[in-house]
Symmetry: C2
Amino acid sequence: MTARILALSGGIGGAKLALGLYQTLGAGELAVLVNTADDFEHLGLYISPDVDTLLYTLAGLADPERGWGRAAETWQFMAELRRLGGEDWFSLGDKDLALHVERTRQLRAGASLTAITGAVAGRFGIQAQILPMSDQPVRTILSTDAGVLDFQRYFVGLRAQPVVHSIEYRGAGTAAANPEALSLLADPALEAVILCPSNPWLSIAPLLAVPALRAALSACRAPVVAVSPIVGGAAIKGPTAKIMTELGLPVTAAAVARYYGELLDGYVLDRSDAALAPDLGLPALVTATVMKTAEDKQRLAREVVAFARQLT
Amino acid sequence: MTARILALSGGIGGAKLALGLYQTLGAGELAVLVNTADDFEHLGLYISPDVDTLLYTLAGLADPERGWGRAAETWQFMAELRRLGGEDWFSLGDKDLALHVERTRQLRAGASLTAITGAVAGRFGIQAQILPMSDQPVRTILSTDAGVLDFQRYFVGLRAQPVVHSIEYRGAGTAAANPEALSLLADPALEAVILCPSNPWLSIAPLLAVPALRAALSACRAPVVAVSPIVGGAAIKGPTAKIMTELGLPVTAAAVARYYGELLDGYVLDRSDAALAPDLGLPALVTATVMKTAEDKQRLAREVVAFARQLT
């Protein structure tokens, strides 16, 4: 069946809500449009971290502690790579490697990232669409006080420690949007678009930087709702708050809503930020947004979907 | 120091004697020239099975049971590759993968197979030279009753079951020989060249098919000695005897000596084949050539080196 809810997501933070949506919606009702601007080639392998996190998370294969990579992973490859003097700043587990090697092979043989991702999701038994935002390269490049850095160098190699001056989504301006996402966004059966609580500048902005995606989101008749990644003036996880400060923004849920601007038809923020709701100029759902347990994820997913449906 | 013994080897069978030589000669006294006509690209990775077997064997990292690959290997990658529907007819262990991925990366960056192999040998603490026969592609192609087959398809994929009509060493005629091997073969300090008991047609013939290598072996002043891979009318391991039959040759140690022909200055054959020695037309060493234990390998290595030195 055609998806009725389209979620936009980066990696770990977004995948939590995506999992809640997946577990509470019916089979085939969810599609997730995923950031690919973190993708990179490493050791000759094409790695798509956010797509992988979604695949592993929805398949029930993700490591519950780390949030990325495979559960019960082993690290023999990395130990031997180190022995050989290879680059070891980016960890690739033995299980995880299979996806990188096989995907790289298929890409070189001419398959699209969308087709490969769909086939892997099928192999994993996932009854949702996982859609890379584009089959063309878009790359997040950060200007920092440590120089101009590729995303993974900044995020993994340097643990997001450099001060960010500006962010470029290289290639986004000319990238074609995922055609299935465009057709979903134009489909009258679509009930809601949900911007997951991913990092707005690192995970959601690259999708919005693809002109056809932004235009389709603006034109979409279904309500667009974002869940704030900022709770009580801090980020749940990752460098969102740090980056907001470096970009000169107040670290508030309201600043994130302003960043998304006219795209939004509704906003979901945490109880601790309830005082901000009246001034958003938007319908708001105030609820508990911190997702620690499976129940948290499912409850929030249900509430967000119900809230969005009310906005229609 | 410059090597004084140059061994020519394929994979498993040859590596046994190479290990015996390595353990009984002094540091730096051994160089091994290795077949690369079994090399292939698989899943986008450059795999050099015989070079790897030599690296792992001399480093003490080889699996003692299988004879190929790493000891205490794990197979998480393969299990996941299978789950993804990837090609699983060629087994790649998690540890082993590190070498394939890192070597492929370095080859794409422009390094030569010789340079990479030397660096890995250094990393592994190997005090011998491991020299790929050529930095250019030579590929063993078999015409069989199952069609024309790449080596690994024939050997691993089809377990050497098809009947072989003829064998081509594609690219050998125009391949440049390993320059370090050429310089060793021309070095007055070289004391012996030893053809290990590898499969003559699949493992040694590709080296001899490189014109500069054959010429250098013919011109070499040091004695060239082969150790028979045929013992008592059968091969110790692998398809040597089967291929000899299919090529219309008698399965005897003498037929192998005739195949090597004028290259040889001496021949080492098993006690069970002692009756063949008088008719070889060559100096012969008759001894126990089956290598099961480390002692077998070391004793045979010492005897072969002593025999070769007598021929000078």
